[in-house]
Point group: C2
Chain length 209, copies 2
């Protein structure tokens, strides 16, 4: 297997953190997004979407997003389990994982990529160039604030995002909160449950990879 | 089990089509989005996101998006298999399913909800009201055209979206193409592979539910 990573980007960090939780060693290739290495013809052959992460299996099959990669790795390396142990738990974790991604990670990206100077003309990942939309940056920021408030409420009733134990939904949620630093959105002082959970996840060795 | 559906909306149709493929009978409650039944307090208790589909399990657990519902149903009712039979196939189908959803369904929704009069002030699903952004409607339309072209290329090399057999990725892809009628985007005359596949999927009994 070969893992195409970028050490500064949030999406491949979701995979790095899962790999670290499982204690795996996978051959890793750094793709420097800041230098535009994902836009080269060479990388286009690896992933026409021009995004990381990519996991290349030994038979040449390539998985091109962190969700499908996580699904594969959790099944092939089952311990510790991060995506669920039975049909119901798998579905519940998938639901929370999706909520973290849609309302967290994607909302931060919506604000960041539509406002940061470095993304002018590149407001979406992928092969096509799209101009930034300032109103979308504003919408993204509103969505991130709702996400933080919703997540705080969730963590008042539940120790972890998807239930009583640490799962892939915590990885995606944690990285969404971390990524929000890029748009200068921090956890509110009174969001005690969110803060308790963030500190707990941040203390895991996997949070430092 | 109880399935909360809306017969006119694309997201619950993904679940309806999967249920039909499996030949299941599940108690179904219609939630009339046009009448705003999803915005009532009563439905808020069922799903705070105010969206359909919802699948309520017998123990009261509620799954709130079509992906987690599909994951659950495919595992509990395994035949015919629609989400993959081993780790690699499950990951590859999940990858294509995601591509159909992100670049297809969500792109159509981006255009439709940011331009249709009926969605003024409601440009995103969920409990928070967001104004329409005309530039986002334009971006969505560009993305849909790219999606159609990419999908035609994919179907030149592959009989179905995720490989040699019909899977959940075909359901999501097909419904994305159908949903594009709402923004008056049709398959181009020269997109022969996309047309061949669309006609094939449309001929399945599950396409008529």
């Amino acid at each position: 297997m070969r893992f195409y990573d970028c050490s500064t980007a949030p999406s491949p960090r979701r995979v790095r953190m899962l790999i670290a939780e499982k204690g795996l060693t996978i051959e890793t290739v750094q793709v420097d997004l800041a230098k535009g290495e994902h836009l080269t013809e060479r990388f286009h052959e690896i992933n026409p979407h021009r995004t990381v992460p990519v996991l290349e299996l030994d038979d040449g099959t390539r998985l091109l997003d962190s969700n499908s990669i996580s699904l594969y790795l959790d099944e092939v390396f089952p311990e510790p389990n991060l995506l669920g142990r039975d049909a119901k738990e798998r579905a519940v974790i998938a639901m929370w994982q999706r909520e973290m991604e849609f309302n967290g990670l994607m909302a931060v990206a919506e604000c960041f990529r539509n406002s940061a100077k470095g993304f002018r003309g590149r407001a979406l990942t992928g092969p096509v160039d799209y101009e930034q939309i300032p109103a979308l940056a504003e919408r993204g920021r509103r969505r991130v604030r709702c996400f933080f408030a919703d997540l705080n409420r969730r963590l008042e009733e539940s120790e972890f995002v998807a239930g009583e134990r640490f799962t892939v939904a915590d990885i995606t949620g944690f990285i969404s909160v971390e990524f929000a630093r890029a748009i200068k959105e921090a956890i509110a002082d009174d969001a005690l449950h969110l803060k308790r959970w963030r500190d707990e996840v941040a203390s895991r060795p996997s949070a430092r990879v």
